[in-house]
């Protein structure tokens, strides 16, 4: 690990100023991903600004009946929050499906969104990687890519975003609140993470020095929501494919549907094409399968990860079917 300076910020303006004063600085909160990447030599910040004590740790109901989640709320606290468990079930389930209890106790809302891919080439500094070292190439495309992307990838990068939480937030129409020296702005979660294109070194649209301050959720649009994750072992493993969905069925027809996939792309994958097919159609397994197929028609699997396409189809149809039968 490279030596670095350290400051614990008590106020957001202090954090922004410290970042600006130290070129190449990084913010740290839970540190569960960043400290690991520093040990691996993937991240080499000369200065860390500790934002874990900023007053951004509240979970509060908003005036419109939605929820405001502070950036430094721990994943474990958010998963156990009564309003999250009852109104945003998919979010609680996604958080509890991620990592281990020890990691969830440290990891924060903002850090979860900003975690880096677990692509083995990205994490190994002896290998080329366009995300870590732009222009060096992507060995994953021909190499070990069983766990990597089937949708939205580019010639430069086939990495997946590893978060479970972000997939649920994508289906729940979350907004991410950012604060920079130029002021505040809000980005829909579905536009927060980028597809790799020609610049896979940029995971998100966050500008240098900007701080994630909160995530907000509108009042739940679907009657019920759920998250389901397929992985290589029963617990404590990243998703091969995951699905978050919210669904409202009235008089046998789909009134509202939101669907997002995880483990398949460089960003949480909101399935707008599937939602388009679902709207107003009979709430049957046939409809769900047709809708999911419309989405997955865009899939472009690599040599060893074509299994993800039928896995995504099966998971999504199952989640929608289960949701439709909830009382």
């Amino acid at each position: 690990m490279k030596p670095f300076g350290y400051l614990r910020a008590d106020r957001t303006d202090q954090a922004l100023a410290a970042y600006a004063a130290h070129p190449g600085a990084q913010y740290v909160a839970g540190g569960t991903n960043l400290v690991d990447l520093m040990k691996l030599g993937v991240a080499t910040p000369p200065f860390l600004v500790d934002i874990s004590r900023l007053p951004l740790d509240g979970v509060d109901e908003t005036a419109d009946g939605g929820l405001r989640i502070g950036a430094t709320v721990r994943n474990s606290d958010l998963a156990a929050h009564p309003l999250v468990r009852t109104r945003y079930t998919a979010l609680s389930q996604a958080l509890l499906a991620g990592a281990s209890a020890q990691l969830r106790n440290a990891a924060t809302t903002g850090g979860n969104l900003l975690q880096r891919t677990r692509c083995p080439y990205f994490q190994d500094t002896s290998k080329p990687c366009n995300k870590r070292a732009p222009g060096t190439g992507c060995p994953a495309r021909e190499g070990v890519h069983r766990d990597l992307a089937v949708l939205g990838h580019s010639a430069r990068c086939v990495a997946t975003h590893p978060s479970d939480m972000a997939v649920a937030l994508a289906a729940l129409d979350a907004q991410v609140h950012l604060l920079g020296l130029d002021g505040e702005r809000t980005v829909p979660l579905t536009e927060f993470h980028r597809l790799p294109g020609d610049t896979p070194e940029h995971d998100t649209v966050v500008r240098p020095g900007e701080l994630v301050t909160a995530v907000t959720l509108p009042p739940p649009a679907g009657a019920h929501s759920a998250y389901r994750k397929a992985r290589d072992r029963a617990s404590y493993a990243f998703a091969l494919v995951s699905v978050a969905a919210a669904l409202t069925v009235e008089e046998g027809a789909v009134r509202h549907a939101a669907l997002a996939f995880g483990g398949v792309a460089h960003a949480p994958w909101r399935a707008r094409a599937a939602e388009e097919v679902l709207r107003g159609e009979p709430a049957t397994e046939e409809t769900y399968a047709r809708a999911v197929d419309a989405e997955l028609a865009a899939a472009d699997p690599l040599r060893d990860n074509a299994f993800k396409v039928p896995l995504a189809r099966g998971l999504a149809v199952r989640v929608l079917t289960d949701l439709a039968f909830r009382p």
């Binding site: 690990m1 030596p3 670095f4 300076g5 350290y6 400051l7 614990r8 100023a17 410290a18 600006a20 004063a21 130290h22 740290v28 540190g31 569960t32 400290v35 690991d36 520093m38 040990k39 000369p46 200065f47 860390l48 500790d50 874990s52 474990s76 998963a79 156990a80 468990r85 079930t89 609680s92 389930q93 509890l96 499906a97 990592a99 281990s100 209890a101 020890q102 990691l103 106790n105 440290a106 759920a226 029963a234 617990s235 404590y236």
Partner: protein, 194 residues
């Protein structure tokens, strides 16, 4: 703890954001561990795990993977279980409890008793992490925190009867035992929960 905390940033950063060419790579750290206060000057890179093992002779917490994947380094910070290999000591300002701090003088903690009674180990390398993790896990369950296998409608596992082997296995999945003593670990935790 009022006296716990870290400074250093204060030496490298001035109000208003004056840039310094060479930020201090060390910090003065005050750690409250098992009821004792330790004041140290540490390289900012030092993890809590290395601080315990290399600077304070508290070698109970073990270094397994050093990447937050095995759980052998699990300790309690502010009563919560965390991987001490992924915590920079300079960021730590809450009281720390390690395996050395669980017993009440020569009376073992009930989970330590249960691990011995149920023979819940073979080589023992993962055991300090398993026990620290289980101590916090029982507190989480008592507080009604749900797990991945808790049905959405159910209020966590406040009742010890709800702490089934399936719940214990899921809640303890952050602690790997390469000897495979899981069956007895689950028994020991279930016994201590009653």
């Amino acid at each position: 703890m009022d006296d716990a905390g870290a400074t250093s940033g204060s030496r490298t950063f001035r109000e208003g954001g004056t840039e310094e060419r060479h930020p201090d790579p060390t910090s003065f750290v005050s750690l409250r561990i098992n009821g004792n206060t330790h004041e140290l000057r540490l390289d900012n890179r030092t993890t809590l795990l290395d601080t315990l093992r290399e600077h304070l002779d508290l070698t109970g917490a073990k270094k397994g993977c050093d990447h937050g994947q095995c759980g052998a380094c699990t300790v309690l910070v502010g009563g919560r279980r965390i991987n001490s290999c992924l915590v920079l000591a300079v960021t730590c300002d809450e009281p720390v409890t390690t395996i050395e701090g669980l017993a009440d003088h020569d009376r073992l903690h009930p989970l330590q008793e249960a691990f011995v009674a149920r023979d819940a180990l073979q080589c023992g390398y993962c055991t300090p992490g398993q026990i620290c993790s289980a101590v916090a896990m029982l507190d989480e369950a008592a507080a009604g925190h749900p797990s991945h296998v808790t049905p959405p409608g159910r209020p966590g596992a406040g009742d010890p009867e709800l702490l089934t082997p399936e719940e214990i296995r899921e809640r303890m999945s952050g602690n790997i035992c390469r000897c495979g003593a899981y069956a007895n670990i689950v028994d020991a935790i279930q016994e201590a929960a009653r």
